[in-house]
Amino acid sequence: MIEATGVSWRYGTNPVIDGVSVTARPGRVLGLIGPNGSGKTTLLRLLYGALRSGAGQVLVDGDNLGTLAPREAARRLAVVVQETGGETALTVAELVLLGRGPHLSTFQRTGKADHEIAARCLTRVGAAHLATRAFARLSGGERQRVLIARALAQQATHLLLDEPTNHLDIRYQHEILQLVRNLGTCSIVVLHDLNLAARYCDDLVLLGQEGVVTAGTVDEVLEPAVLEPVYGINIQRLDLDGAIHLLFQPIEPGVA
């Protein structure tokens, strides 16, 4: 469970996130959605402590994130950031094994159990065949799957992902989010694609230029009347077989 209350961040004098509160509940997937520049990534970075809010606080399972030791924080929060690390000379296996770091003491090297976990996580994202390849030589989609495998290898109680479907083929977009959904851990995902959010999230926080526009279940947030003014596009919602689908139509110039 992650509870953020009244967190803020500004770049220069320009507040990107101002007094925002969000809650990610155990066993549920929370999606952060909103147009470009609404501060989705900034909010996520506040939630895992890469940015420290001057005001408010972030509680992880009831403990203030600011007071957790870095290693303890890493055992609770696994994060897939957008930083690709594309220049590293590590192999895929070595990169995934770094996820075991927070569980090892300083003098301990990775053991059999760690290797099994890493191999299992690679298999889970369909990247076991890449294990001995150089990470830098992989395609964007392969890299993303490997980074997710590293986050899984961290075996943290929470998983945070910043646009994990970037660079992925449509099939892997769904596979990765399906995987996150089936983990059953408390997850927070920044997503651009509202249809993916509709399908794989339980709860959503919609951010606009003025902060949180609305928060609630997927069904509550993905209302055309709520979304249209934020995104500036006409939206039609179809509920087919219990799943929400959104269709988009640009607003005709002059009509709006």
């Binding site: 870095p70 590590l90 192999t91 770091g101 090892l104 290797h115 890493a118 191999a119 294990a131």
Partner: protein, 361 residues
């Protein structure tokens, strides 16, 4: 058999194979280092056969063999002059190599090196200040090293501050500010030495710019060994995983439980300490810290827990050979060792630049 079921996930991940490979390289390099030591001690204006060298060292250290079959001058040359020099060379090579490894990880640039980042020149300035103006006199026999350390740390902090001012820390800004600070400090050091008209003959401008192992003494080796081996090589090996994480990026390091700002500061202090004592003992020697990490990564891959020890031994071997060349090429005249390392290192740098260009980076 290579990935048999008994090896399981370790075979799949290639961990076992990599560990075996690293162990083999470490053994081979250690053997090479010992051989290098014996041959290097024997070579010079007066040649001494390797077997005699081994006997003299064995006799001095262990009392084996007991019977003396060599001349007193031979013993003096081996024990008093050349052995400390070769050991100093090993420590300098190992220290500069692992400092290069640490810097390349922390600035995420394959061109980082204590020499290019101006840390060597900071140490030179500090050491020169100690000699010319008695800076750090309160530290007694360690005044020179302490002052060189302070200079190295000040220079590296200055370089990082300049590179960071006005925005994000980029590798290009870092290297450029390193080169600028480096030149400014070398010029300052040289100017001070000339202006003081000091009779400090042994440590001339040439020494600070190009380095020399000619001042090696037994009594100074202990401190250097403690700092280079005990401090730097051991520390960097232990924090290998953290270096891996930092080399990927600050964000990644943080999410893996490493506080990047604090860790980077700690690394800067360790590197400055090492460079400080090394420069005060052997002057400023370039290219070792740049070249050796690349060679080490070619041998055993990228994880720092493997790269650091391999780079240390490799650096030790290479620097001792560079010193042998410096002593014998124009014998009996001795060439500053920095000339040899630059002659060997510069083409390597060109190859590196070509490869960077090819990969579009």
């Amino acid at each position: 058999m290579a990935t048999s079921l008994s090896e399981g996930s370790e075979g799949l991940l290639g961990v076992a194979a990599q560990r075996r490979r690293t162990a083999i390289w470490l053994l081979a390099l250690t053997a090479g280092l010992i051989l290098t030591g014996v041959v290097a001690v024997g070579s010079g204006a007066i040649g001494i056969p390797p077997l005699t060298v081994a006997r003299i060292i064995g006799h001095q250290l262990l009392g084996v063999p007991g019977d003396v079959t060599w001349t007193p001058p031979q013993e003096a040359i081996v024990w008093q002059v050349r052995l400390p020099r070769v050991l100093l060379g090993m420590l300098v090579g190992a220290g500069l190599a692992v400092c290069g490894v640490a810097l390349q990880a922390m600035v995420r640039n394959v061109l980082a090196d204590p020499y290019l980042l101006g840390i060597n020149s900071g140490a030179s300035s500090g050491a020169a200040a100690a000699i010319l103006f008695g800076a750090g006199a309160g530290f007694g026999q360690y005044a020179l090293s302490t002052s060189a350390f302070a200079g190295a740390l000040a220079a590296s902090l200055l370089v990082f501050l300049i590179a960071r001012s006005g925005g994000r820390l980029t590798s290009l800004r870092l290297l450029l500010s390193g080169v600028a600070v480096g030149y400014a400090l070398y010029a300052t050091t040289s100017f001070l030495i000339f202006a003081s008209g000091s009779a400090e003959g042994a440590r001339s401008v040439m020494f600070w710019l190009l380095g020399s192992l000619g001042l090696a003494r037994w009594n100074a080796l202990l401190l250097i060994a403690a700092i280079v081996l005990g401090g730097t090589v051991l520390y960097l090996t232990i924090v290998g995983r953290r270096l891996d994480a930092l080399a990927i990026g600050d964000e990644t390091a943080q999410t893996l439980g490493v506080s990047p700002a604090r860790f980077r500061m700690g690394l800067l202090v360790v590197v400055s300490l090492s460079v400080g004592v090394l420069v005060s003992a052997a002057g400023s020697i370039g290219f070792v810290g740049l070249v050796v990490p690349h060679l080490a990564r070619r041998l055993v891959g990228a994880p720092h827990v493997r790269v650091v020890p391999v780079a240390a031994i490799l650096g030790a071997v290479l620097l001792v050979w560079a010193d042998v060349l410096a002593r014998v090429l124009l014998a009996p005249q001795e060439i500053p060792i920095g000339i040899i390392t630059s002659l060997l290192g510069a083409p390597f740098l060109l190859i590196l630049i070509r490869r960077l260009h090819a990969s579009g980076a």
